[in-house]
């Protein structure tokens, strides 16, 4: 069996963590060929070639792939699909945009956010905000899958797969990029950080989110947020952790002023150690916390920042 794996590349740079974790998941399925797509993709392809378990890297470098628009990238993958039994990618917003389109063009179902590989046809994935785990067996000729990276360990590096340039496919030309609004940050990336400090509605304002950020910076952590904090404008959308935001599983997750709705738990309950700080002792977050502290975050969080 042969696997085509879409590498996670943004503006020419490879997301090593997400890609290497997907390689680890895909290695169980067969021989892995990585596809590096972008306006610039050579450097990223070279990096992906070092991931152990990768046998070849296809490089499609063309201006039409500049912003990972779904239509041209899906068309390219479909043009290559005949050679592969599985087409896979990390479950990022980019891949979740592209792969269902690929699947429908191939007349097959898509399996998203897969957390376990049973065999080449059978996979596990969470449903109902992670309240149930479904094992499904695909009857389709080609399996199209996104893997939830938080549940796989990254494949090691040290390999040296060959690169091969491939031509761009036809551009459907249906959409064009206008602009990106990306916050520059020196903090670790949320989905691969060892520690995440998250704030909820209890933080109260964008201004007060600084107490969450200060603790995160002291710990070298990423910052997360609940939906309520994002909806209220305290935090940007890309910080949202949960069923419909990012899924994280760090070594340590510190939830501050978050009640613990199932939609939030869906995004963090696989963290190794969970700490909850909340002034309401009845808050459901305490049911999943390894260490719970009933306290006002405006006192406890700055105190903790001073003591770690």
């Amino acid at each position: 069996m042969a696997v085509l794996l879409l590498a996670e590349i943004t503006d020419g740079s490879l997301a090593m963590d997400a890609t290497a974790k997907t390689v680890a998941a895909a290695s169980k399925l067969g021989d892995v060929t990585v596809l590096a797509v972008g306006a610039t993709a050579k450097d990223a392809a070279g990096e992906a070639a070092t991931i152990e378990g990768v046998s070849k890297v296809l490089v499609a470098e063309d201006a039409i792939y500049g912003h990972r628009l779904a239509e041209p990238t899906a068309a390219l993958i479909v043009s290559l699909a005949g050679d592969y039994s599985h087409i896979v990618a990390p479950a990022t917003t980019d891949a979740k945009n592209i792969l269902p389109r690929v699947a429908a063009l191939l007349d097959v179902m898509v399996l998203t956010d897969v957390t376990g590989v049973v065999d080449g046809d059978t996979f596990e994935r969470p449903i109902y905000a992670g309240n149930a785990i479904q094992t499904v067996k695909s009857k389709d000729a080609t399996k199209v899958i996104t893997f939830r990276t938080s549940t796989f360990d990254a494949a090691a590096t040290g390999g040296s797969a060959a690169l091969e340039d491939i031509a761009a496919a036809e551009n459907p030309g249906l959409s064009e990029w206008v602009s990106d609004k990306v916050a520059e940050s020196d903090r670790p990336e949320l989905t691969s950080a060892k520690i995440v400090v998250s704030g909820g509605r209890g933080v109260g304002s964008e201004e007060d989110f600084k107490i969450i950020e200060a603790l995160a910076d002291k710990l070298g952590a990423a910052v997360g947020a609940s939906r309520a904090a994002v909806d209220s404008g305290f935090a940007p959308n890309d910080w949202q952790v949960g069923q419909t935001g990012k899924v994280v599983a760090p070594e340590l997750y510190i939830a501050c002023g978050i009640s613990g709705a199932i939609q939030h738990l869906a995004g963090m309950k696989d963290s190794k150690v969970i700490v909850a700080i909340n002034k309401d002792e009845e808050a459901p977050i305490f049911q999943v916390a390894d260490y719970g502290l009933v306290a006002d975050i405006f006192e406890a969080v700055p105190e903790m920042t001073g003591k770690v």
């Binding site: 943004t10 912003h67 628009l69 779904a70 239509e71 899906a74 917003t93 980019d94 945009n97 792969l99 269902p100 389109r101 699947a103 429908a104 063009l105 097959v108 179902m109 898509v110 998203t112 449903i127 109902y128 905000a129 992670g130 149930a132 479904q134 094992t135 499904v136 695909s138 009857k139 389709d140 459907p172 249906l174 959409s175 064009e176 990029w177 206008v178 602009s179 990106d180 609004k181 990306v182 989905t191 710990l219 909806d231 959308n237 890309d238 419909t244 340590l252 199932i262 309950k269 150690v273 969970i274 305490f286 390894d290 260490y291 719970g292 502290l293 009933v294 903790m304 003591k307 770690v308």
Partner: protein, 252 residues
């Protein structure tokens, strides 16, 4: 321009999900069902386009069990103009896969020729996040998923999308498929007079056969299990105790 909005009847987001003891699935008998929250946002956006004079008609369509009619009535009460019910399952536990749903929707698109289809980005039951993208593939239309803001212009739409790095704005040629994210709008509640009026709005009943679509699943559900439980934790009395515990266990 017509706007088409697919809506799905799902377990209410507040209901605690129970996995059936025989591993055959999640128990949906006698639980509260509602419109998928992302679809409510889609209906709201379509109605706002009509109120702004940018859409002529809002058509809602649901594919599932016949009780999905209630979901369609809710959409009509919010302000949609007419509804199409495609009865594709007998048992509430049968989930029609996104590929089959997209095929039926593609057939509806062919008949109705909407300028825009607004879908929810994911259904909160199967959490697949696929129908909109699949419909875009089958119709050959552009797609803009995870919409945070939508501006409809002459022949195109500009969509700000929620992506992992922040926001990406793209311009898509119409007709297009847009999928909604949480911050696109806040859906309205239907007023009592509008709920009454909705009962008289047209609702067309169809079956997958009418569209020549086979809804047989491609995925066989082998088993459905409870997720692993977390071991019980402890409460600490102070920040000092918390920090000490975290250092002791190597978490810090």
């Amino acid at each position: 321009m017509k706007v088409l909005v697919p809506v799905k009847r799902v377990i209410d987001y507040n209901v605690k999900v129970r996995v059936k003891a025989d591993g055959s699935g999640v128990d949906l008998a006698n639980v509260k069902m509602s419109m998928n929250p992302f679809d409510e946002i889609a209906v709201e956006e379509a109605i706002r386009l009509k109120e702004a004079g940018k859409a002529s008609e809002v058509i809602v369509v649901s594919i599932g069990v016949k009780q999905s009619q209630e979901t369609l009535r809710t959409a009509l009460a919010m302000g949609a103009d007419r509804a199409i019910l495609v009865t594709a399952a007998e048992d509430v536990h049968t989930d029609i896969e996104p590929l089959a749903v997209a095929k039926i929707l593609a057939a509806v698109v062919k008949e109705e020729e909407p300028g825009l289809v607004i879908c929810g980005k994911q259904a909160i039951d199967n959490d697949l996040n696929a129908t909109g993208q699949m419909l875009a593939a089958l119709t050959g239309f552009a797609q803009a998923t995870n919409a945070n803001n939508l501006e409809v212009e002459e022949g195109s739409a500009t969509v700000a999308r929620e992506v992992d790095g922040g926001l990406q704005t793209i311009k898509v040629t119409l007709p297009a498929i847009v999928t909604t994210d949480l911050r696109l709008n806040e859906p309205r509640y239907a007023s009592l007079p509008n709920i009454m009026k909705a009962k008289k709005k047209p609702l067309d009943e169809k079956t997958p056969e009418d569209f020549g679509v086979d809804v047989a699943p491609r995925l066989e559900v082998v088993t459905t299990a409870e997720p692993a439980e977390r071991a019980a934790g402890v409460m600490v009395g102070s920040v000092d105790e918390l920090v000490a515990k975290l250092k002791e266990t190597g978490a810090l």
